[in-house]
């Protein structure tokens, strides 16, 4: 055996070291990011939080559909297309809508109001009461949504919702977003961008878009936290619930209606 054979191959060591270092450098951030991401997804939903929206109708502009468009983009509703052969007038009644703009006129005074209307995330949601399988449910953090694995498509929740907030998927879907699974024959509605909650992201698509247009009519936040912006707004402004008579304690409140 030559002397050369017993020598340490420093070149080889350096190469291995560099390779290992590069490997760690490549993998580590992904591991760290993954850990950060999964924390909220792995933890149970926090019941001390109650997510909600406050709508200042005075700031909601006529003709603006920024919230509706943002919701459609965020949840893949802009990917739905009329099935071949569907009449446009019929399709308008059958496509899914999670948030819509409504313009009202007071019969007595003639005053006009604009507002976005979506699932009101009731504390006592009639849609949850009536669902035979329990697919329509309320999370501990107040978000009312549909479990798409147990929804049988009976539409009784749509009969029961006082806000017409829910949509039934009338057509086969060919395109959807991975974070918002949708499926023919199930019912769906606004879920306060629940994927954002679970990934620990701020706000909702509608509130964000409304703020970006400069209107700032939609405020998203924690109703259970007295120091949150939404709670401070609700404490200072007179607001009301739509269909207050039903005593559902909605998670969406309106000022100026």
């Amino acid at each position: 055996m030559s002397e050369r054979g017993t020598e340490i191959d420093r070149e080889r060591r350096r190469l291995l070291g560099a390779a290992a270092g590069a490997g760690v450098a490549l993998v580590a951030p992904a591991v760290v990011v993954r850990a950060l991401e999964t924390t909220p997804r792995d933890a149970p939903v926090d019941g001390r939080v109650r997510w909600g929206l406050a709508i200042d109708t005075a700031k909601c502009a006529a003709g603006c559909t920024a919230c509706v468009d943002a919701c459609a983009r965020e949840n893949g509703l802009d990917l739905q297309h009329p099935p071949e052969g569907a009449e446009p007038a019929d399709w308008a009644t059958q496509r899914a809508v999670w948030v819509r703009k409504v313009r009202l006129r007071d019969d007595q005074t003639g005053r006009e109001t604009n507002l976005p209307l979506m699932c009101q995330h009731c504390e006592h949601p009639p849609c949850v009461d009536v669902c035979p399988t329990g697919a329509s449910f309320k999370r501990a953090d107040g978000i009312v949504m549909v479990d798409r694995h147990t929804c049988i498509g009976c539409r009784y929740c749509m009969m029961a919702c006082p806000y017409k907030a829910r949509s039934f998927i009338h057509e086969a879907l060919s395109d959807q977003l991975s974070h918002v699974p949708r499926g023919k024959g199930c019912v769906e509605s606004c879920n306060l961008c629940v994927h954002r909650r679970d990934f620990g992201l701020p706000s909702t698509a509608c509130a964000e878009a409304c703020a970006e247009t400069g209107h700032g009519a939609i405020l998203f936040g924690d109703l259970a936290d007295p120091d949150s912006a939404i709670s401070r707004f609700l404490a200072s402004e007179p607001t009301r619930q739509i269909r207050e008579d039903l005593a559902l304690n909605t998670g969406v409140r309106y000022a100026g209606v």
Partner: protein, 415 residues
């Protein structure tokens, strides 16, 4: 009074298979309609996000409540001790089972995800009146089968009355429960009314009996079995009383709604400006479905003639479908009252702009599915009466039992 003899339905094979063929085509067309709706999605129906329950539900609810009502004859015979009805108890039970099967077929095949029926049978939300109804429907099937056994088997004799009482209470719960599917909904003005429960009970009596009488008349006429004047008079008087009961509940329901300002918009629309729904209400439900049949049934001459009584039954059934179309579809078409005192000028989701009702146009697949349920109910009945002894051989006056059981006079007995 002679002993009641039951016999299978003895029709010439060609005639019988012809009838079965027609019914099988109805069921087949219903299944094809289901396959089409299931494959394409519900966009091929007229149902939409505003009118979420449509024609299939009108048929399904009609068949389900008629099922409960069809058992009335058995109940009156065994629970209320009117022996004259006893010969009809078996047919009454069979028809109740068959109608329920037809109704449930329509209801299940209209689901958005019918393949998840097993989910509905294994996941229950016990606060849901719909979930209660799943138990009420399946329980009703089991009870009626037991009831039929008690009526048909000699060993079952001591059980007829207790099972009959249980079946009566169960079906009252079932029909009240079906009415409460709508009555419990606080969201819609036309619902949120406790009276819908008893109103559905009255409807079930009327529609179930109308179906029963028609099936009985057809079955007997085909096999040349006689129905005597006594039985016909009993049945038509009973039907008239039930139709009157439905009218009474209808009157109370609408008077209550029309009284307060809150629901006057709804009543004004439905009773005067609702277009096709106003027509369905006045012409279908009230005139043809109630007043004309009452005129026939209480007519001194026509009311005793079998063809006229059959015509009255047909009208009650058509009126019943019209009534349920009003209760189910019109109530959804009328916009939700989201902002009282305000008019909606624009909406991105058909919120009743300017007070306009939501559109709904029934399509062929929906109708075929509904008729498929009717076909299944009649198919089960036709097979049942053919293979088992459900039909009495005769309902002629002289073979019928007495009308009512009389209380024995102890004094007379002692003497």
């Amino acid at each position: 009074m002679k002993r009641i003899v039951y016999r299978e339905w003895r029709l010439a094979p060609a005639r019988y298979w012809g009838i079965l063929g027609v019914l099988a085509v109805m069921v087949g067309a219903g299944l094809l309609a289901f396959a089409y709706m299931e494959h394409e999605g519900h966009w091929v129906t007229g149902m939409n996000n505003s009118v979420v329950w449509g024609t299939p539900h009108v048929f399904a609810v009609f068949l389900i409540i008629a099922s409960s009502g069809a058992l009335n004859i058995a109940s009156i015979g065994s629970v209320f001790r009117k022996p004259i009805y006893k010969p009809l108890g078996r047919l009454s039970g069979l028809l109740a089972l068959a109608l329920l099967a037809g109704g449930l077929m329509v209801l299940v095949l209209d689901l958005g995800r019918p393949e998840r029926l097993v989910v509905a049978l294994t996941n229950y939300n016990f606060k849901s009146i719909f979930a209660w109804n799943i138990f009420l429907y399946t329980g009703f099937m089991a009870i009626v089968i037991t009831y039929l056994w008690s009526m048909a088997d000699r060993k079952g004799d001591p059980f007829i009355r207790p099972v009959g009482v249980f079946a009566l209470l169960w079906r009252l719960a079932l029909t009240t429960g079906t009415g409460s599917i709508f009555g419990f909904l606080v969201a819609r003005q036309a619902y949120d009314a406790a009276i819908l429960g008893p109103m559905f009970v009255a409807m079930s009596f009327a529609y179930g009996l109308a179906v029963f009488v028609l099936v009985l008349m057809f079955g007997f006429a085909e096999d040349r079995r006689p129905i005597g004047a006594r039985m016909l008079r009993r049945l038509k008087n009973l039907l008239a009383v039930f139709v009157l009961a439905v009218l009474y509940f209808t009157l109370v329901y609408h008077l209550t709604s029309a009284y307060g300002a809150k629901d006057q918009g709804l009543e004004g629309w439905l009773l005067f400006d609702g277009g096709v729904y106003t027509t369905l209400f006045w012409v279908g439900w009230i005139l043809l479905g109630s007043l004309v049949p009452l005129g026939i049934l209480y007519h001194p001459v026509r009311g005793a003639e079998a063809p006229w009584v059959a015509a009255a039954c047909v009208l009650v059934i058509l009126g019943g479908l019209a009534a349920l179309a009003v209760v189910i579809i019109a109530s959804q078409a009328y916009p939700l009252q989201l902002f009282p005192g305000k008019t909606i000028l624009e909406s991105g989701f058909l919120d009743g702009v300017g007070g306009q009702p939501a559109p709904y146009h029934p399509t062929l697949p929906e109708l075929l599915l509904g008729f498929g349920g009717v076909g299944l109910a009649l198919l089960i009945t036709a097979v049942g009466v053919r293979v088992l002894q459900f039909l009495p051989e005769s309902l002629a006056d002289e073979v019928l039992p007495i009308d009512e059981e009389t209380i024995e006079q102890p004094v007379a007995k002692a003497a």
